[in-house]
Amino acid sequence: MTGRQLAAWALVALALAVVPVLLPSAFYLGIATHALIFAIMALSLNILIGHGGMTSLGHAVYLGVPAYGVAVMTMQLGWSPVPTILFALALGTATAALFGVLALRASGLGFLMITLALGQVMWGAAYRWVGLTGGDNGIRLSGRPTLFGINLTDAVPFYIFVALILFMALFCLWQLDRSAFGACLRGTRDQPRRMRMLGHDVWRIRWTAFVLAGFWGSVSGVLYCYDYQYVSPAALSLPQSAEALLMVVLGGAGTLAGPVVGAIVITAIKTIVSSYVDRWYTLLGLTFIIVVSVMPTGLVPGIAAWVKGRRA
């Protein structure tokens, strides 16, 4: 790592660390925690959208399935946290492995539609398979776990836990970005045909990306379940998938910081701005339109270009 990169990472760590100090109350820290969890979800989706050029409208599956995994294992089978978490991650990743095989039969809009349909099937299953999921009543968790001797019930330790995982996710995805695999994945995004002609197994590259996205999505799903201590079909719904997509595109697909920024902006509009503006839904729509009109590639690249332009 170069000195500059090290400094950048230190800055990220510092930024995550000062949030609990700066925020006035546990309530705002809770919102920050929600935003970071969705940031992890958006980061995972960005592997597909930004790096792989595969627009998925069914990413809520990897939020909801592991969340249900945590809830069912904890509440119905009484498993302890560590095996529960491992199981939920494995469940979400395995789902991605299977759904990836199905969705990658197509590309472009076909891919988008298969992911959407699979998401709707899982949503329907959650609604209907009442014995397992509790239907629309969902499953309530009896509290946050104690992991490695640390009780995550309070806002501060849970925030730190989530922030640590976000930091890990950022670092892993940064590594991915710089790896040979990352280069191949971007290659399949820009020139799939050429990639084949260079001897690459395009399908396997995409499928691996799908599974990776599923894994990191599952990480956010586990955190989501512990955060809200409740899971219902809403976690698997199309609006949830669309929201994740919007976070990625709003912040800037293909950039590392974009999904995080997108997640923070959308969470802020939904939870904070909505307290002051009745028509926050319109405001959210306007935000999308304005961002795309002014910065077609998203907030992070747009602002970066603007800053560069001012310096020059």
């Binding site: 109350s25 546990a26 309530f27 705002y28 809770g30 919102i31 929600h34 329907g124 609604y127 209907r128 009442v130 239907g135 629309d136 009543n137 969902g138 309530r140 968790l141 009896s142 509290g143 989501y224 809200y228 201590q229 409740y230 219902s232 809403a234 976690a235 609006p239 939904k270 939870t271 909505s274 307290s275 002051y276 009745d278 926050w280 839904y281």
Partner: protein, 414 residues
């Protein structure tokens, strides 16, 4: 009257200073009511009426309850469980409300159930999920409206004993609220000699009810429907489109013929019998004033969603009165509300059972055309109905919660 947010933020600065200096509520501090409702998205219809009902109730009280000023803080849950939880946190932790009213939907109520418990926050619910006042009742939760099964019990009894239906089809939204109503109906109807011969479950997001309507057996005595929101209205329309209206009687559960959709349903609605703990046509002074106010301020007749907060407000008022206007001791306030006996709410008399659910009148209503508009005329009153109907509480609770398949339907025909 809902205070504007900006005003609230300004006065909130004062409140924050108070919190910092650790002073307990000032003697002249207003009671802050956190109101969770849905103002955006597909569920907003009921949510907007909830807010209107609450606003009107407070307006009619001169924005004072038991002599104390009221600050109403409204939060939009957007019909999402995750947002509901965040908004509940906002109201409790940031706005430091003294009592919560709402939220609208069962899954929203369930999403905050544990939070309300750990925060020991007095909550007056309106959502119908049975178990929130049954097997998983909470000391911090009370529901002045009804459980999903509560009204269905009554109309099932009415259908079997007064309408003398023997064979019925039941149809409802395929989610917990529909399941619970239909299960309650089935139990009481069959315990009183009727037979449910067909159960149909359209999914919540059914684009069209034609396919379901055309499956209804043509040899049943009547059809019972338990729908929420606009689904009841759309089902009724399809029922008449397919020529079943007038041939097979249609009766409805708690929200199937809600005042919110009564006018839109038009001629088709006339004659439909349903059960609810409320009717805009219920005749007592409190309700007369309330209905007139809704018509004046919002040009609508109040229904389930508007009346719920008005009843909750009456409960809160009664609790505060019992404490001489005090509300700072949450435990005392909750206890006072749950032991209150209210005689003159918009739904008539109401009190709570030991699990926090309302015991009150259930009205059998029939849609009639009066003065050019549809009204739910009360044709029979079941007084003091509890969520357990006539069953013994212990026996009732020993059985599983009402669901899609419980109690089992033994008389289905293919």
């Amino acid at each position: 009257m809902a205070l504007s947010r900006r005003l609230l933020v300004q006065s909130g600065l004062g409140a924050a200073t108070v919190a910092l200096t650790g002073t307990v509520a000032r003697a002249d501090e207003p009671i802050r009511i956190g109101f969770l409702t849905v103002k955006t998205g597909p569920l907003a219809a009921g949510g907007i009426q909830m807010e209107q009902g609450m606003n009107l109730f407070l307006k009619l009280r001169g924005n004072k309850l038991a002599g104390r000023d009221v600050q109403l803080i409204v939060a939009d849950t957007a019909g999402s469980p995750a947002t509901t939880r965040t908004k509940a946190q906002e109201l409790v932790e940031r706005d430091k409300v003294h009592v919560l009213i709402g939220p609208l939907a069962a899954f929203e109520a369930l999403a905050i159930a544990d939070y309300v418990n750990t925060q020991k926050m007095p909550t007056l619910g309106v959502a119908a999920a049975d178990d929130t006042t049954q097997r998983s009742a909470s000391p911090w939760y009370a529901r002045a409206t009804a459980s999903a099964g509560q009204c269905a019990h009554a109309i099932a009894h009415y259908a079997a004993t007064e309408l003398k239906y023997k064979r019925m089809t039941i149809i409802g939204d395929d989610f917990a609220y529909g399941h619970e109503q239909n299960a309650a109906f089935l139990r009481v109807f069959e315990d009183n000699g009727g037979k449910v011969v067909q159960k149909l479950w359209p999914p919540l997001n059914a684009p069209d009810y034609g396919t379901y309507v055309s499956q209804i057996k043509n040899n049943v005595d009547a059809v019972f429907m338990s729908f929420a929101g606009s689904n009841g209205f759309r089902f009724t329309k399809a029922f008449f489109e397919y020529g079943l209206g007038g041939k097979i009687p249609l009766i409805g559960g708690m929200t199937a013929m809600d005042e919110a959709i009564l006018q839109q349903t038009g001629e088709d609605a006339v004659g439909i019998v349903s059960a609810n703990w409320y009717s805009a046509a219920y005749d007592n002074p409190a309700n007369k004033e309330f209905v007139a106010g809704m018509q004046r301020d919002y040009k609508i007749d109040p229904g389930y969603y508007a009346a719920g907060p008005a009843v909750a407000g009456a409960v809160l008022e009664a609790g505060m009165k019992a404490l001489g206007g005090r509300f700072d001791d949450r435990e005392a306030l909750m206890k006072a509300m749950r032991t209150a006996v209210i005689t003159d709410s918009v739904r008539g008399p109401v009190k709570f059972d030991d699990r926090g659910n309302a015991i009150g009148n259930i009205y059998i209503r029939k849609v009639e055309k009066k003065g050019g508009k549809n009204v739910n005329t009360v044709i029979k009153t079941y007084p003091d109905v509890s969520q357990f109907w006539t069953y013994a509480e212990a026996e009732f609770l020993a059985k599983p919660v009402y669901s899609r398949d419980y109690p089992p339907a033994k008389n289905l025909e293919n």
